[in-house]
Symmetry: C2
Subunit: 469 residues, 2 copies
């Protein structure tokens, strides 16, 4: 055999960048400048969102036979019904509306190194379901219908860096799931791509350091879901400083915890075997059915609601927003009832930060179970019997709470979908419980190279781990 | 935070075992003893397989409405129809029969260390579609219907080690796909579990060294598909000797090639990005339809055939086999037309063995594309235009052929399904071609920790790489 070409440098680009880039902290003044920019962007963009009946949404159509709601182009998404069976579960069968969006979109962040510091290109972006209107979005968040211009809008800025990326400048590129109780098998491509710093910055976009972005996660309702999931997939490996300048035991543990050479309460093969076993033996059947046949839900007064007023509504909205790709439009949104809670119990085990993950079944998952926060629930959906750990995280004393921020889920599909994200120190021995395992921070990072291990709420919390300085 | 329990030893058990166990080679005498045992087992088990019409298979039922064939218990598998669309492909749409088997079975090998040498517990097992009747099978190969005793057979020996494994004795545990043109989304749990050497060896089972098992892969028709796929998932990492005592450049490269610290023509994130991009942008729709509606195929004379006599038939068989869990039974089998070819072009790049993988769409895959051999085809299905590399691997001079063995696919579902597996030295510059990438051997091993990266034929060839001494 002949060696006809040689090996490239084996140090991955992301490791070099992470080492060099995160060693400097953002000064408070720089964050002030960011907030001034963001406020100016918010003022610059006028928009108005009003309720609209599902019955007459412009561009949308209810199939008279099935009751399914879809766009006249056949693109974007549909609202259909789902019949779910989970053998042996406490709630073994139910039906519900579900959003079906088979297209794989792109959620992408461009990064570049300025003076040795890693920066991310973000944008201030309006979505109709956002509480405040504008949120901080990744460089690109686009469905395939968006970037193939089905709705006749303008071209998506910077999309070319993600549709046909230069292979050795890709730092992360992985399909990840989204809310499995609201979406049927939806996945987006989460990408981080490196560019040269001389890139032209277009209106509405701004470079921020990755360190600043981590800090901004702690601001209620600011960093949107798509930014959070992409940020969780950016590999931040190696023994160098990662977050914070503090020297307390928590920060020491956090820094060490993302070093792949650190150990863990369980070895990775053991954790993978746990997931494999659950997938092999859990019988979940999720069958798409006509929306009109879904039991326990009703469509009246131009919206769809659960008969007990729980879970979520499907509503219509009318949007006027001149700054957006299209000047105005109407669309359905899923509007959750109540505010969700997603929390990791965290602890130091042998000098390495661990989080207690839950193996969770959601009917829209691509592969039966994914790893979820220790507790993930909407308290108002469980009036009598709160799920395990819900009371513990909500009643934890302030000194145990490492992170506590109200963040919104995707405002292009969900209306005012707020989740309170918490990182709470565990107390007591807390061994593994049925359905839960302690997983080291660097093991989470390793799993995030691959699809379908961590659900969207767990990924937000992984991103939040970086901000706990 | 308090550290309430400490970390276990961080050296994974599989690495320790692999280091210690593969350093000794099987002597020729030991292989002779194996073959004598196998011949005796073959004589001990009498069985008879005769053709039977699909129309009157005992225990099986053809639905009068759909034409689908299923077992009266509702278990095992069904034969249904599939309507496939691949946007932009050379063959953008077709219909075909397909085996649907949603249950996840277990393919498991028990391993133990005897005097520092890793051994695997194998069995001589009959399957109705096997060419010679008996093949070498893993410790356990069982559908869930098997081990939950739907067909009233005897308990599956050693199943308890796999159904509820001791977590820190699991060396491999991963869901892997099977033939995506014959099965609809079938997956099996591939497991390797360590036990103590004092385990009772039951009739029909035998300990062989892992080194011997690698050697036996080179015997036509001996090691069955299930053994091969499990063997490919057994991590053989680290810098120690892996196979062979030779000192030639090929062997040196092979030994170094499974060391995770070796480089590669592409970094792993780049390869993952390639797979992600293909999955995100390839539009494959595979819709189950009634078997009776499949165009281009006919059911006549008690069998199903393609109208041009290509691809495969679906036939019935009548089995008498007293040594098996059930004394006799009838069942459908898929019988391929022609012998398949699956070949990797291999080469040394920078001292590390690489194989040229193909990103392949098969309609039954769980996730759009998987990595496949450089060429995977049945030549008789392509009379006019052979696929890329087929002629090259079939006409390679003998000194380029590192491995060339005729092996059978799963004899419990396929009748006389033979594939010629080849490892062939690449010549010339052979850069990456569209749809192909050079992947280092240790990268293949890393990907095999996870589901849905390497298809079943590629996994057989990974196992065969170990036997090329």
């Amino acid at each position: 055999m002949t060696a006809s070409f040689s090996l490239p440098d084996v140090e991955p680009a992301h490791r070099r960048l992470a080492r060099s880039a995160l060693s400097r902290r953002s000064a408070a003044g720089e964050l002030m400048a960011f907030h001034e920019w963001f406020a100016a962007e918010s003022r610059r963009t006028s928009f108005e969102v009003r309720p609209a009946s599902l019955d007459g949404l412009s561009g949308w159509h209810t199939d008279p036979g099935t009751g399914n709601i879809g766009h006249e182009s056949g693109k974007f998404f549909t609202v259909e019904g789902l019949d779910v069976e989970v053998l042996g579960a406490a709630r073994p069968r139910w039906q519900q509306p579900i959003i079906v969006q088979p297209e794989v979109g792109i959620l992408g962040i461009l990064v570049a190194e300025f003076d040795g510091v890693l920066h991310a290109l973000v944008q201030a972006k309006f979505e109709p379901g956002n509480v405040g209107g504008m949120q901080l979005s990744p460089t690109v968040q686009a469905t395939r219908s968006n970037f193939t211009a089905v709705h006749g809008g303008r071209a998506v800025p910077y999309i070319e860096f993600f549709r046909d990326p230069v292979p050795d400048r890709v730092l992360a590129d992985v399909l990840q799931s989204e809310q499995g109780t609201w979406f049927y098998r939806k996945r987006n491509r989460n990408m981080v791509v490196e560019v040269d710093p001389d890139l032209e910055v277009r209106d509405g976009f701004r470079w921020v350091t990755v360190g600043q972005l981590h800090r901004l996660l702690g601001v209620d309702g600011l960093v949107n879901m798509d930014t959070r999931t992409v940020l969780s997939c950016l590999p931040i490996a190696g023994p160098g400083p990662i977050v914070g300048r503090g020297t307390g035991p928590y920060l020491r543990a956090l820094r060490a915890s993302f070093d792949p050479a650190s150990g863990g309460a369980h070895q990775l093969p053991e954790l993978l075997s746990w997931v494999t076993g659950l997938r092999a033996t859990t019988d979940v059947t999720a069958r798409r059915i006509p929306l009109a046949e879904v039991r326990g839900w009703s469509r009246t007064d131009g919206r769809i609601t659960h008969d007990d007023g729980r879970f979520f509504d499907v509503v219509g909205v009318d949007v006027r927003a001149p700054g957006r790709e299209v000047g105005g439009w109407q669309q359905p949104l899923l509007r959750p009832v109540g505010t969700g809670v997603a929390a990791f119990l965290v602890r130091d085990i042998g000098g390495v930060l661990h989080v207690l993950v839950q193996a969770r079944i959601e009917p829209g998952f691509h592969d039966v179970v994914e790893l979820a926060p220790t507790v993930q629930a909407t308290p108002t959906n469980h009036p009598g019997a709160p799920p395990a750990f819900l009371d513990e995280v909500l009643s934890a004393s302030a000194d145990r709470v490492r992170f506590d921020t109200l963040l919104a889920e995707e405002g292009g599909r969900f209306d005012h979908a707020l989740t309170r994200y918490l990182l709470v120190d565990a107390v007591g021995p807390d061994p593994d419980l049925p359905g839960h395992r302690w997983v080291a921070a660097h093991q989470l990072a390793e799993l995030l190279h691959h699809s379908n291990y961590l659900n969207i709420e767990a990924r937000t919390l992984v991103a939040c781990l970086y901000s706990t300085s």
